[in-house]
Structures are given as structure tokens and as C-alpha cells.
Amino acid sequence: MSAANKRKPKPLDRRRFLQDAARAAGACAVAGMALTKLATDARALPAQAIRPPGALPEEDFLAACIRCGLCVRDCPYDTLKLAELGLEGPATGTPFFTARDIPCEMCDDIPCVVACPTGALDHGLTNIDDADMGLAVLIDEEHCLNALGLRCDVCYRVCPVIDKAITLERRHNERSGAHAIFMPIVHSDHCTGCGKCEKSCVLPGEAAIKVLPRRVAMAEAADHYKLGWEDRNPMVDDIIDLPDRLPGPGTDNLAAPGGYLPGTEGLPDPSMDGGFTPSFNLPGTGGSGQ
């Protein structure tokens, strides 16, 4: 191509280029905002849609899942489905299951994870018992037959992690006064969210026990409270030797802090300085205070 064939830049060309660029950029900005709205809306996964085993957290999942459906094809129980536009809640084309329809059967070889080409289902998940699809929650204690004092026990018996993920806890039946209630209790450290309990709940219609995403089902631990029965370490006594506050006139009683005199047994003599008569029973004092 000869140089003579090339157009010489005209002064108007730059202006037109900038105008066209600004137009295109403006249009793309509008379209981009609409697309951004769609993309951010899609993160709000509805609670009844459970992702397959090993699925990354929702915000990472939508970057990783190419919606190819290979997990769906390799699921031997037809548990997984791809969301259809306008019919199901999750982002269109992404895989999910509804536990009440078909729960996850927790295959040992986890074929859905193996099939995933991108790692949207984490290939690091090799033991299905470590799966974390959601958490079963006994959501309707008013209708759960076990909670009413009957022996249904179905959710407990179908649980693939029986006696770990769901246990039956015996309680007193306040209504009859003479019977027991075998309460199904879900333990979050073992529940995989497979949904077998929700599927097999004998109630018509909705189940009394439901699998929910953990972000919905679980609260954050109250780390600012100390659970003395779990954590037996003394808190401050090892660090600072504070005087023991016992019932009495107070720690300002230096002669007998807390109202006790060193070397004496029982309660201090009410007649002496700092002595008193408590209005309650102190353990180990023979109950002589009253």
C-alpha cells in the first residue's frame, strides 16, 4: 500500500474521534451500570437454593462458575439443576439443588466436584463429610412431631452423619408431665447440608427441618463472653492477684478482708470489729447464718 493512498489527518478527525469515543463510552457506561446491577443482584442467593458440594462462597462462585452444567451431568441422582431464567432464584445457568425435591446423596467420589472444569466447586474437597452446602435447622418446632413428644425420628435416622450431625436430646415433656421429648438437635460442625433430613421430613408440604445456607443459619459466636464450662483457664487470677471479694463489709476491712479473720474457722464473730451476720447460707459454713 503506497503512502499516497493513506488519508492525511484532517483537523476535524480528532474532534470527531473524541465525540464518537465519548458517545460510545457514555452508552457503555449506562449499559455497564445495568449489567452491574444484574451482577450484584445475582449474589443474593435465595435461601432454599443450595449450591453443590465444594461450591466456593457465593461472591467467588459467580467469578468461577462458567455455567457449563458438567456437574449437573455427572450427578448420578439428578440432584443438581441449572437455574432457569425467571423460574429459579439463583443466577441464570448456575447449579443448585432444592433439598425438599432431591437432596444430595453425598457420593464418596464427589463426581460433581471432579467434573467442574474451573474449580467453582473446590477440587480440594475430597472427603464428602467435609462438605459444607448448608446447615440443617429445625425451623418449625410447633409442628415437628418429635418436638411434640412423638417418636418420629425420621430426620435423625436418615442423616448420613447420624449421631454426629443430628442427635436426639431427651427432655422432659412439660405437657404430659410424665413423658420424654426426643428433640432433634443439629450440630453445625458435622452437618454437611445434604438435605436428606429436609427431604424425608414426614410433614406434608414444607419440612419442619430445612437446610439453609450457613450465612443465613448461623450467628457469629459471642467472643466477648467467656463460656466457663468450655474454657476452664482462669482469667485474671494468674495475672493479677486480686483480693477475693466475699460477702462482708468490704475489702477496705484490712484487719479481716471479706469479713474473715485469718486462722479462725466458720464465720467471724458478729461482735468483733468487721464481723457481721450474713443473711444467707454460705457453702461450707454449716448454714448457721440464717
Binding site: M1, S2, D20, A24, A25, A27, C28, A29, A31, G32, L35, T36, L38, A39, T40, A42, R43, L56, E59, D60, L62, A63, A64, C65, I66, R67, C68, G69, L70, V72, R73, D74, K81, L82, A83, E84, L85, G86, L87, E88, A91, T92, G93, A115, C116, P117, T118, G119, A120, H123
Partner: protein
């Protein structure tokens, strides 16, 4: 222009070459589109699982992984580094289209192509005006926008609206209301903008066009000297601007259509009665003298020509 311009498109080619040669690539293209869609439908419809998945990602005969490189690129921009399977699949697809022409995907595989071709056919039948014609490079702006939104939202953004996946996945896995996107593209091409979606806006086509920038397989107007200005090739070409530099070029200009916008659909080969066009490679140096009108002197067979 000539009096032949007024003839119905392709009529002369049918007379001269016969119906088959005048429709060969159109028919082959429809067969190809049906073939690739059919491969994916064999499983869900007939239980023959040669191919699993869809155009975004698939597994053929349990061994060959294929991944849409554009979808994977969006995922990477959204900061997910995929497993090796998806990367290998995207490389296979990417290298293939880089060799045979990126937009071969558009005209020979994409399931939306029959939809927009149908819209264009009806558009012509009804004699509508061409309507809104955004610049051809608008699709690159859309492509950039998609990648930016992917990065900002951390999602594979285009897959929320992509009518190609909506239709393809819909046919294979269940449609829902995804048909509304397909209908929207059809109506857009019919009423708003002739050849609007595939020719001006679709970022998937833009991506594949960039991918096939240096592709080997090309259409060449090698017999351009025979052109009788019937304009049929321009009438059928979905990206008609790609024809001009090759067909109307001077002796020293290459007759090979080198624009990455060309979809290698081959329809120009079909409708040209004097057989100006043929498929060849980008390295083809067959001499191709320019049309008589372009040249200062009378036709010089075997004139000097630079590729």
C-alpha cells in the same frame, strides 16, 4: 453499479452455477450449526452422551475439554484462577479459532446466528430501512465494558445477559424465560437495527474477531477482475465493509479479505456468478489483477502484484 444490481440477489449465480453451488456455503453453514447444536442435544434428547455441557464449557467423549475463552477471561478478570482443565479447554478453542478465523464461531457455530439471519431475511422481505446503525467498533466498547464490569463486580458479567448462552443452555438444560433474550435480539435486528446485534454490538463476536486477527483461513477476491458490479456479495455479506478493500483494491493491494470482522461464512462465494471469491489462506500469493475500472490501462494478465 450495473443493470445486474437490480436483479434479485443470487439469481445470476443460480442460473450460471446451479442451485447447489449458489447455496453451498449457506447450506453447509446451516448443517454445521445444526451439527454442533445436535451434538450437545444427543445426550439430553437421546441419552447418547458424546458431548456434555454447553458452549461455555464441555467435555467430549469423556476426554476432550473445551472452554469458551471469553467466558474464562471474564472469570480471570473477576479474579478467579481456573483449574487446568478449563485452561486447556480454552487454549484448544482459542488456538483453533485463531487459525481458522475467530468469527468462524459466529457464522458456523453460534446458535444466535440463525436467529439474526432470520431477522435479516424478514427485514429484507418487509423492505425496512436499515435503521439505527451504530459504528462497527461499538462492539469493542461493549467488550471493554463487559471486562470492566466483570472486574468491578467479581462476576462473569456477560453471562447474565448473553443471548448465545441463554439460547444454547436453554435448549440443552431448560429454557425458563431465556427465550425473551433471544426474541429481543430478533426484534432488535428486525425493527431497530439491520444486522445490529451480530454486526455491531455482540462482545462475543468482538472477542473472537480479535482472537482470529491473524487467522490462516481467508476468503480472497482472487478473480476480482471478473467482477461485474452486480453487488450481490455486498447484499449478502453481514460485514460488508470487509469486501471493499479486497474487491475494489488496486493491483498492488491484496485480494485477500484480511479484516478480522469477516466471519468466513462464504456466502459471497455462493452468490457470485463469475466466481470472484474463493476460500484460501492468508499466505496465498496468486496474482489478482484489479478490476478494469480501477486500473489506468487495459487489463494486463499476470500484472505485477504485491501481497
Amino acid at each position: 453499479m450495473s443493470e445486474k444490481t437490480a436483479l434479485p440477489v443470487g439469481q445470476e449465480a443460480i442460473q450460471d452455477k446451479g442451485w447447489w453451488l449458489a447455496h453451498r456455503f449457506l447450506i453447509l453453514r446451516r448443517v454445521s450449526q445444526a451439527f454442533f447444536l445436535g451434538l450437545f442435544l444427543l445426550g439430553p434428547w437421546f441419552g447418547i452422551w458424546w458431548v456434555k455441557g454447553n458452549l461455555a464449557g464441555s467435555l467430549t467423549l469423556d476426554i476432550l475439554p473445551l472452554t469458551d475463552p471469553f467466558v474464562l477471561l471474564q472469570g480471570m478478570v473477576a479474579q478467579h484462577w481456573p483449574e487446568m482443565t478449563a485452561i486447556i479447554g480454552a487454549l484448544i478453542v482459542g488456538v483453533t479459532y485463531a487459525l481458522i478465523g475467530g468469527r468462524v464461531y459466529c457464522s458456523w457455530v453460534c446458535p444466535i446466528n440463525p436467529v439474526t439471519d432470520g431477522a435479516h431475511w424478514l427485514h429484507d422481505k418487509l423492505g425496512f430501512a436499515k435503521g439505527w446503525q451504530p459504528k462497527r467498533n461499538t462492539r469493542f466498547w461493549v467488550l471493554g465494558m463487559v471486562l470492566i464490569v466483570s472486574a468491578l463486580t467479581g462476576t462473569i458479567a456477560w453471562e447474565f445477559v448473553n443471548p448465545i448462552s441463554m439460547l444454547h443452555r436453554g435448549l440443552i438444560f431448560g429454557m425458563g424465560f431465556a427465550w425473551t433474550f433471544v426474541l429481543a435480539v430478533f426484534l432488535f435486528d428486525l425493527f431497530v437495527s439491520r444486522r445490529g446485534w451480530c454486526g455491531h454490538l455482540c462482545p462475543v463476536g468482538a472477542f473472537y474477531g480479535l482472537l482470529g486477527h491473524g487467522s490462516i483461513l481467508r476468503v480472497s477476491a482472487v478473480n476480482r477482475a471478473e467482477c461485474d458490479d452486480c453487488m450481490d456479495c455486498f447484499a449478502v455479506c453481514p460485514e460488508m465493509h470487509v469486501i471493499t478493500p479486497a474487491l475494489r483494491g488496486a493491483d498492488e493491494d491484496t485480494p485477500i479479505i484480511l479484516s478480522p470482522d469477516c466471519t468466513n461464512c462464504g456466502r459471497c462465494v455462493d452468490v457470485c456468478a463469475p466466481d470472484v471469491f474463493k476460500f484460501t489462506t492468508r499466505f496465498d500469493t496468486t496474482p489478482a489483477p484489479a478490476r478494469a475500472a480501477r486500473r489506468p490501462k487495459q487489463r494486463q494478465p499476470e500484472a505485477s502484484r504485491a501481497a
